[in-house]
Subunit: 227 residues, 2 copies
Amino acid sequence: MDIRKHLSQVDLFNGLSLQQLDEVARIVSVKEYRKSEPVFSDGDEGIGFYLVISGRVKVYKVSPDGKEQIMHIFGPGQPFAEVPVFEGSRYPANGEAMDHSRLFFFPKKDFVKLIHDNPSLAMNMMASLSQRLKQFSHLIEALSLKEVPGRLASYLLYLSDKNGSIDQFELDIAKSQLASFLGTIPETLSRIFTKMTNKELVRINGPHITLVDRTGLEDLAEGESKL
Amino acid sequence: MDIRKHLSQVDLFNGLSLQQLDEVARIVSVKEYRKSEPVFSDGDEGIGFYLVISGRVKVYKVSPDGKEQIMHIFGPGQPFAEVPVFEGSRYPANGEAMDHSRLFFFPKKDFVKLIHDNPSLAMNMMASLSQRLKQFSHLIEALSLKEVPGRLASYLLYLSDKNGSIDQFELDIAKSQLASFLGTIPETLSRIFTKMTNKELVRINGPHITLVDRTGLEDLAEGESKL
DNA sequence: CGCTGCGTTGAGCTTCTTCAACGATCGTGG
DNA sequence: CCACGATCGTTGAAGAAGCTCAACGCAGCG
């Protein structure tokens, strides 16, 4: 496999010369994970970070009584688990492959050296961390200031946008996982889907979604209406 | 005022030579804010970031119906509002001075130049962003997986630690602000303080707190007991 | 065929918020 | 110096949102 080719398509390595990409490629090791296999665990010593090549990885926290909050789902091209590279040394959450996934692993020590004499790489990394902060801000806002129907409406609109703003698309994750991402439980999510259907906001058929009343969803997402 | 002297005491500028500190000092402008004065607003164009010299600044989101979620409170030595420097161009939240505050302002353009040929500064900035990510993780975990009593218990234990693990200390913010930080409202917070007092976990006297049953609080914080 | 994981539905309950009222404190202006 | 208003904190009663527990349908797969 040509590691450099993969790296060249990733935002994090934007603007690097071929030679620089080679230097990066040299420190990479390729790892494979089966579906549901853990990548790292909360509190583990973090000896490097990862980049998703194929598949998906969820990063999540678990409460003592087993409830799970998904903090982020990473897909191809996205780096994750960078925190222990730069601050402290432990992963602050769990990571698990959602599909069979291929990851690149970048050892902390080697990567820090590269960053040191590679300002573009440093800038890209700061951009990546900043984007993550922004996404976390949105999640905090959603969890604290919106009710579940509002969060779900936001997510559906987001998915629609991601698919080119069309009104029909497939849920990219199982509904139970969606519940975990929205900070709720499958039962509650299911009930809200039912209500949304009754109010003619959406149509649901398994994982297939049709947005019927976009404006209504936007009002919900903004907290300007209720179900 | 000697800007360089202030900078030299800040983590973000750790490991910089005197000459490098001078270069940084050259781009700083000093700003003063009165208590309750906004520093920036959600959606504003972000033309740089800030460092707290004295006073405190809260960064928060507001819901359509006016509820406020404090995401972070920054004190002396802490940089904030870096996101638009590295990713996108708008602040993703609001910033407001909680006390009369003196801030240093670093214009985006100038600062990026400095980072470019200053690897230590880049590393420090990545450490700072990573730490922020870690703190946000904790907040997300708390909001989603813990009930309010658990969040309050965690906060009290955190405050105690910050004060050298002693059992008596002062709340550093008003209770209504604490409610906003814990993702709840003053009424709920007040009731929980009452319950905690009745269960002999703490003693409250205005802003003065005494931890009576540390173990009990730890159990609450871990979700292993209820009020 | 039967198992297992996922999704749905119902009933009851817990937690938290809303709305309203009231006490205490503090700073300001008369 | 006192009175007043504003802000903050507390308390009560009622209601809403979401969770728990339990049951069940359904699809996929060994």
